[in-house]
Amino acid sequence: MGKRLKATESLKKLIKNYYDEFFEVSKAGKPVAWLNVGVPCEIFYAMDVFPFYPENYGAMCGAQRVTPELSKVSEYKGFTQDLCSYARANIGALLAKKGPMGELPLPTLQVETTNSCVMIMTWWRSVGRLFNIPTYTIDAPQVKYDSDGFHLDYMEEELKRMIAFVEDKTGNKFDQDKFVEITKIANQGKRLWAEILELRAHVPCPMNAGDIFTHMFPMVALRGKEDYIKHLEFLRDELKERIVNKDFPVPNEKVRLLWDNLPIWYDLRLFDELEQYGAIFVIDTYTQAWGPRFMGIVDENNPLRSYGYYVGSGFLNVQIERRYDLLKELVAQYKVDGIVMHSDRSCKPYSLVQPELARRAREELGVPSLLLEADHNDQLGYDREKVIGRLKEFIEMIETNKG
């Protein structure tokens, strides 16, 4: 149970190097930008501004189970206890000057985009106000299916305004040639990520969900860096090797599952736990946000507009029609028997459409769903035994139906 990938070691090094660099550049007084995951890091690498992602740090707080402790600090300040647990943990860590990596050095500036949720906007607003950090919000009005026409023009203008803001606050100039070079590397990595996601469609599946969630990190923070390519190649090759050697996490797969929503960061072992029942999460919707459908290949001849398109058409910036189409495609491509929807109290835009999606999946695709209420980052109130019990019942039900 819980067969780990060799690439996990390579990933640990990447993460360590990234955080080392973050602390070094901060200490040296070089420009650092805190970004939310919808903001393309490629633009910042092209401007020699180090991109740091507090949501990634939030996940680290979750994995290390320190969110409740940090939340108390933000709640004492007046933030209510039912807010997104990423935000509570992050703001708490900054106020308390402690956390999984110790005290975080504050950034030169912040940039976020409205393409996911109201919480992100108010979280960045809070950090900006509390610590007097210049903050830019890229406006991304929600679209039905994707960004086009004057909406796309607006997205491109927003990115231009954001670049002018970063230039103004850092003194670093935007270099178009460097931007195109970085975009080319990022594109190369995106192709590899697409291959990795596709390899999971193999029966049996070569990679469980816990691993893919962990391996998202380079796709979020390192796009455009050379070592990100090497790591993704390593990961892809290892998956291919597993397929050739028939070395699978669950060799006798009985039930293939799809996970919808963020993972439960403090219980990634949950995915391993189900292997004993012959079940494996072969695909998820969350890592698709960095996949070809939602953060695809950027047009190297017109990169800014292309990034504008992907920011405007981000995974949580589209409506139920596209979310359903994604489920439908994934169910077919990955031969999914059942969908587990993590109804995440900390993520309303992801979660509040799930009952409708579940109904449509059942009625139109004939695929059952289980709605599992939890929180992606705060373990208070999480009843692991109960969760496993419900998952086990769901798996048994699918097996019975399959005959």
């Binding site: 933000s74 300040k77 007046g78 933030f79 209510t80 039912d82 807010l83 997104c84 935000a87 409205t114 949720c117 109201v118 919480m119 906007m121 108010t122 979280w123 607003r125 809070s126 106000r129 919000t137 890229i138 406006d139 991304a140 009005p141 929600q142 679209v143 039905k144 004057f150 909406h151 023009d153 607006y154 203008e157 305004r161 409506q319 139920i320 109804s343 109290r345 309303k348 835009p349 979660s351 509040l352 459409v353 799930q354 009952p355 409708e356 449509r360 209420e373």
Partner: protein, 363 residues
Amino acid sequence: MDYLTYLQNVAKTKNVVGYFDTYLPEEFLIALDVHPVRLMSDELEPSVSNAYIQGFCCPYAKNLLEQAFKGKLDFLSGVIFTRYCDSLRGVYEVWKTEKLSPFVEYIRYAQVTRPESANYLAKEFLNVFENIAAKLNKTLTSENLKQAVSLVNEKRKVLLNLFNMRKKGILACNSEDFYRLVFSSTYLQFSDFMTALKEFIYQYSDGKVVSKVKVVISAAEIDTPEFFKLLDDVGFSVVSDDISSGTRLYKDLVCEGGEDLNEIAINIAKRYIMKPPCSVKEPSERRIEELMYEVKTSDAKGVIFLRTHFCDSEGVEYAFIKERLEKEKIPHLYVETDHRLSNKQQLKTRLEAFAEQIEGIII
């Protein structure tokens, strides 16, 4: 006549279209000879809606969905959602998927309200309202839109005048009646509203102002007159507010100019993006400044911050409002409830304690 009966009657002779937040530019609907109505919550407990949306959705938004499922809003020709909060976004998806109204439109609204957003938003307004015009066999003309702008401005002006009279203590009405009138401005037709307004002024202009503990209410959304009745009963007078269904409705006007549809649409867009902001919009600093201004100019003795359960942006904003009020040494109370005031007894006890606290300060 109650709110729903009134609207059902209106719907017999003209299209009635519902909306959900004060960022919807009702001018466009009036220009199309459509009656805009900001949908109001009621006493229904969630039952049918529980199968469609989770319990951590805003109870106010969920209640509107419940009303639609139970057929109480069947008189509507359609509804329009804007990009407001994440709960209403979820409700929109269900409303649309379940086809709860003949049409369900969505405005890809700017969440960031900076001047540069106005041109984009104006195009989006024209895009959406021309679609609606086509659906209802209407035509959007610059002349009609100009007239609608004047009409809605007129409504805002009279509300602002009335508000100022009350704030100065020369209008002897209680909080409940005043807010009933303000809320009625979002569902009555203009002529009916003006009639209601005349009656209101006639009723209250000669009365005697009763001395009560003056407070300002800060909230995202409250459309429940019973909350104001509770405040009256406890001994408060709400002399001003910072609420989307209160002063944020009528504080700013649309610039009355523009030759063609595009120019008028830009003027309208400017008003909606520059009006006193809700916490779901960025930037929102003006909100705190407006609140402080209202406290200082109304002789209020304290602030009551009301948060609807699960409202994310207010859960964040409170931290900053609290900090500012503490810095300025203004007494304040944080309370949480839902549109049905389901914790009314607890609220009453806390409000009474707050009244005593403030009175203690006065002494």
